[in-house]
């Protein structure tokens, strides 16, 4: 009779025993690693002190920012009645860290044009065309009837088209700058960034990541990217497109049925992901015995590894008998087949 077909875990090959290493190799590694380790350990107290100082500074800065935001929230409503005060549109909830803008200009601003900025939880019209009085924590820009040019702390030049809405954020990763284009068009010139540097433009349906280039991103009902210089990666739901100078993505006029098909596809994908997520949650909550199953599998594998074939076989059998529908059953069956094979070859 033939053995039932089993599906073995792809990781089982990594569990195979390792050969012993020669003592010469170990001694050489020890000498080499210890050389660097001594220096690292001697610098550890200083590094610890620095890390603690950074934590303290971060806590103080956080508390100060919170206090400043609270003060502003109290101050702005008090100013609303004043005739010459800034125009308040809405208070915003706590936001992620702001991207630092060094310079902002709206050269074409006319009397009927305005740049709306959102900073420290409130938005108001920028009264000047030169960017004077620009808040340090600028979070959102809305250009109405004028272009806006700004330069980020990382050196990127950003040109925002009229009637555009742009959120600015800094990622937790040092040196990463993110522009979130909700509407309109933005043109960016990014200088070559260091290894840690990253600049990206996010739209509702794509992420454009660059390293030193000039490109334009627009969003109306879908994203359109045009690259003038360098290389740009566009991450979208169907994968990643790498665009070189002169290339574009998503800008062609699409037939309405194609756009509709895309929308339907996006909806289907979202629905499928939601269903998968629901099923995964149900599976986790339904498998109350998973810990016991894990323990049985672990003990069986440890016994197998240490050469206790009979015990390992008993444990695999127990797992399959007690929990036949376990997600670990496949692996247990594979283990059982292995231990039986060892037992048979031993008997021969």
């Amino acid at each position: 009779m033939s053995e039932p077909e089993t599906v073995e875990s792809p990781l089982s090959v990594l569990r195979e025993p390792l050969p012993a290493e020669s003592s010469e190799i170990e001694a050489a590694t020890r000498a080499r690693v210890l050389g660097a380790l001594h220096a690292g350990v001697e610098g550890l107290p200083l590094a610890r002190a620095r890390a603690r100082r950074r934590q303290r500074v971060a806590s103080v800065a956080g508390a100060t920012a919170l206090a400043a935001a609270a003060a502003l929230v109290i101050w702005i409503p008090a100013q609303q009645g004043a005739p010459s005060g800034p125009r308040v549109e809405a208070a915003a909830p706590a936001a992620p860290p702001a991207l630092r803008v060094q310079q902002l200009e709206a050269p074409g601003a006319e009397a009927d044009a305005a740049v709306w900025i959102d900073a420290a939880g409130a938005s108001h019209a920028l009264q000047t065309s030169s960017g004077a009085g620009l808040p340090a924590d600028l979070r959102e820009l809305r250009s109405e009837g004028t272009r806006v040019a700004l330069r980020t702390a990382g050196g990127a030049s950003v040109d925002l088209a009229p009637a555009s809405l742009l959120a600015l954020a800094a990622e937790s990763k040092v040196g990463a700058e993110v522009l979130k284009l909700q509407r309109g068009e933005v043109e960016c010139a990014v200088p070559p960034l260091g290894p840690a540097g990253r600049f990206s433009v996010h739209t509702p349906d794509a992420r454009v990541v660059v390293h030193g280039t000039r490109f334009r991103v627009g969003f109306d009902t879908r994203t359109c990217v045009r690259v003038s210089e360098g290389l740009v990666a566009v991450h979208h739901e169907r994968g990643v497109e790498r665009l070189r100078a002169g290339e574009q993505w998503g800008c062609e006029q699409e037939a309405p049925e194609r756009a509709e098909a895309d929308r339907t596809k996006r909806k289907t994908i979202r629905a499928r992901r939601a269903a998968e997520s629901r099923r995964a949650k149900q599976a986790v909550s339904a498998s109350g015995t998973l810990e016991a199953e894990n323990a049985l599998l672990r003990d069986a594998l440890l016994a197998e590894r240490s050469g206790e074939t009979a015990r390992s076989r008993r444990l695999f059998e127990a797992l399959l008998k007690r929990h036949p529908d376990s997600p670990l059953a496949t692996e247990a069956r594979a283990g059982l087949a292995r231990t039986r094979a060892v037992g048979e070859s031993g008997a021969r």
């Binding site: 990781l11 990594l14 690693v33 350990v41 001697e42 550890l44 107290p45 810990e291």
Partner: protein, 216 residues
């Protein structure tokens, strides 16, 4: 004999007295940690002697000799260990070898992911899947190479937290409680990562097998 005294106050390890002393293989994990925090040279050696087997074991199990320069990776693992200690220290109770093994598993997984990013696995530049596999019968070597490369590729495709939980449990043999302590999450979260990781691994394994059959 000079000694180190430590006291536990509200979860903080407080160093009361430190004196230079020779490497003692019998130093406890607490003593080694206190020595490290004080920048003592003997503590570096004691740390190495206490954890090098676990560190090397994790690296060798995950990378299986495929283009790995273990000396460099050992050094990278110890640098990562010191970096974590400098940032946040460790919480009692300590299990230095297990913790260091988990840190080096993370280093090895990073190496795998970096290689996939560089497309070395797929384009066969000699880093993975084409070099001898340590601990494997030479007669099985060819099939073992492809099995190891497949396992590594699958691991590199998983979410880092899931890959870490799978490696700690299925390859290094830690139980859920230990995984939770080593990765700083609750047991329920560790269990969830493990079961999702396993499901995802099998799903991807099935997909690649199907692709292989279609290609053939």
């Amino acid at each position: 004999m000079p000694s180190i005294a430590v006291s536990q106050t509200q979860g903080q390890l407080r160093l009361l007295a430190v004196a230079r002393q020779p490497v003692r293989s019998a130093s406890s994990d607490e003593e080694i940690l206190a020595g490290l925090m004080a920048g003592e040279r003997w503590a570096a050696e004691a740390l190495y002697d206490r954890v090098h087997v676990a560190v090397r074991g994790s690296l060798r199990r995950i990378l299986r000799g495929q283009g790995a320069d273990y000396d460099d990776l050992m050094q990278a693992s110890f640098e990562r260990i010191l970096e974590v200690l400098s940032r946040r220290g460790l919480e009692s109770p300590y299990n230095l070898p297990a913790w260091a093994g988990a840190v080096s598993a993370r280093v090895a997984l990073d190496v795998l992911r970096r290689r996939v990013r560089e497309q070395r696995i797929f384009e066969g530049d000699g880093r993975l899947g084409s070099q001898p596999i340590e601990g494997v019968d030479p007669e099985r070597s060819v099939s073992a190479r492809s099995e190891v490369a497949r396992a590594q590729r699958l691991l590199s495709m998983l979410k880092p937290a899931q890959a870490e939980a799978l490696v700690l449990h299925d390859v290094l043999g830690h139980d859920l409680k230990a995984i939770a302590e080593l990765t700083g999450v609750s047991v329920a979260a560790a269990q969830s990562r493990l079961s999702r990781g396993r499901r995802e691994l099998m799903r991807r394994a099935g997909k690649t097998a199907q692709r292989g059959r279609d290609g053939a």
